[in-house]
């Protein structure tokens, strides 16, 4: 029972707004430190690859953004379930404010992959299952953004977007397993939960730092963007008016 009470409390915009204010400096600080350490270490100090030389270093940007691009979609899908079942406004605020961030991360993964693919594979782009399913993810993010903005009524917009997000969630396992199910040009995963990474520690340690750093920065961005979203949607409530008056905005 207490879990449900906590869950419903979490759905209260005011409660989330206050928690987010407290989390923001911590997420930003640790996220920046970890990401910058990981990137400097990976881009400047990690050893070269025996086959690709320095061009492999793009993984320190490519892998974190590709990981997060898929995680963000899964988070949005969970929020979409909350929107449809519990009708919580906050879940829809998350989906609609964070979809552009997911789109940006997907674009970054596709772009860095193309830059790496040209010297390594010999082509910018190939229609293999991994690259194509990742492009579909970018289109899904764009669809969510456009659909959310196209419907003026808050409730119908939330419902429509949630359904689209849930329909698109089938693409996530396809992205993940495309390299195992089909012949693709993209290589299979270097990191799995069951095996040791096919990469020495002096390469994967900076990569891990960048991944964790980027997740924390995403958490920071979530707090900031959702706070803005809450202020916009709740501008008629007394607590937002009181807040605005006390801040003198």
């Amino acid at each position: 029972m207490s879990m449900w009470r906590w869950f419903h409390k979490f759905g209260s915009p005011k409660w989330f707004f206050d928690i987010a204010s407290r989390l923001i400096p911590w997420l930003l600080g640790t996220g920046l430190v970890l990401l910058l350490t990981g990137l400097v270490w990976g881009l400047a100090f990690a050893p070269q690859d025996y086959l690709q030389g320095n061009s492999y270093r793009i993984i320190f940007i490519h892998v974190p953004s590709a990981f997060l691009a898929q995680s963000v979609y899964l988070m949005m899908a969970s929020a979409a379930v909350v929107t449809l079942v519990w009708k919580m406004k906050l879940a829809d605020v998350f989906v609609q404010t964070m979809a552009p961030v997911g789109a940006l991360l997907t674009f970054l993964a596709l772009f860095t992959g193309a830059v790496w693919g040209k010297p390594t594979w010999g082509t910018w782009w190939v229609w293999d299952a991994r690259l194509t399913s990742m492009l579909i993810l970018l289109f899904l993010y764009c669809g969510v953004i456009v659909l959310g903005r196209a419907i003026a009524d808050e409730k119908s917009s939330a419902r429509a977007v949630a359904v689209l997000v849930l329909v698109g969630v089938v693409n996530i396992p396809i992205i993940k397993y495309s390299v195992d199910w089909w012949n693709t040009l993209h290589q299979p995963a270097t990191f799995t939960l069951t095996k040791r990474p096919s990469m020495p520690v002096e390469m994967w340690a900076p990569l891990l730092l960048s991944v964790v750093g980027l997740y924390l920065l995403f958490g920071w961005l979530t707090c900031v963007r959702m706070q803005t979203g809450i202020l916009v949607r709740e501008h008629r409530t007394s607590w937002v008016r009181a807040l605005v008056r006390s801040q003198g905005v």
Partner: protein, 155 residues
């Protein structure tokens, strides 16, 4: 949980599962078209069509690469360790092209079974290591091979 919410949740779960099943079956039906390339075994068993632009991929066989003296023509064999297919390519190969390296070639299968490629892409694997580690592994392998030949020469 409130019964109405429970009902909504069940409907959503059913819809997502049904959708997943539908997409799963569709991709299963299209699996050959989703594969980026044919492997040498599929070509050997006649699965790959002749005189149609297709992709073929596999490992470049050790010791099979021969370059033409006065043109950019390269001949090599591509294997998946059970069958192999002869390939011809005229042009500049990607940096990663080497014997023992995975490649994906685009081109046509000639009637004599040779694959004439007009584009060769290098496939990178999931392994990364510093050059020193790679050298150490190669030294160890050479040592092992040398030990094997000397012990067999003793017989």
């Amino acid at each position: 949980m409130h019964p109405v919410r429970k009902k909504r949740l069940t409907i959503i779960l059913f819809l997502v599962a049904g959708l997943g099943l539908a997409v799963g079956l569709a991709t299963y039906a299209f699996r050959q078209n989703i594969n980026l390339f044919y492997d040498p075994s599929q070509i050997a068993s006649g699965e790959a069509p002749h005189d149609v632009r297709i992709r073929a991929g596999g490992m470049v066989e050790d010791g099979s690469v021969s370059r033409d003296e006065d043109s950019l023509l390269v001949r090599f064999r591509v294997t998946d360790f059970s069958s192999s297919v002869a390939m011809e390519y005229e042009g500049i190969l990607p940096d990663l092209f080497a014997e023992g390296q995975g490649i994906v070639a685009m081109g046509r299968l000639r009637a004599d079974g040779t694959f004439v490629a007009d584009q060769v892409l290098a496939k990178h694997d999931e392994n990364y290591m510093p050059p020193e580690v790679h050298e150490a592994i190669q030294r160890a392998e050479a040592k092992k091979a040398a030990a094997a030949t000397t012990s067999s020469a003793g017989y």
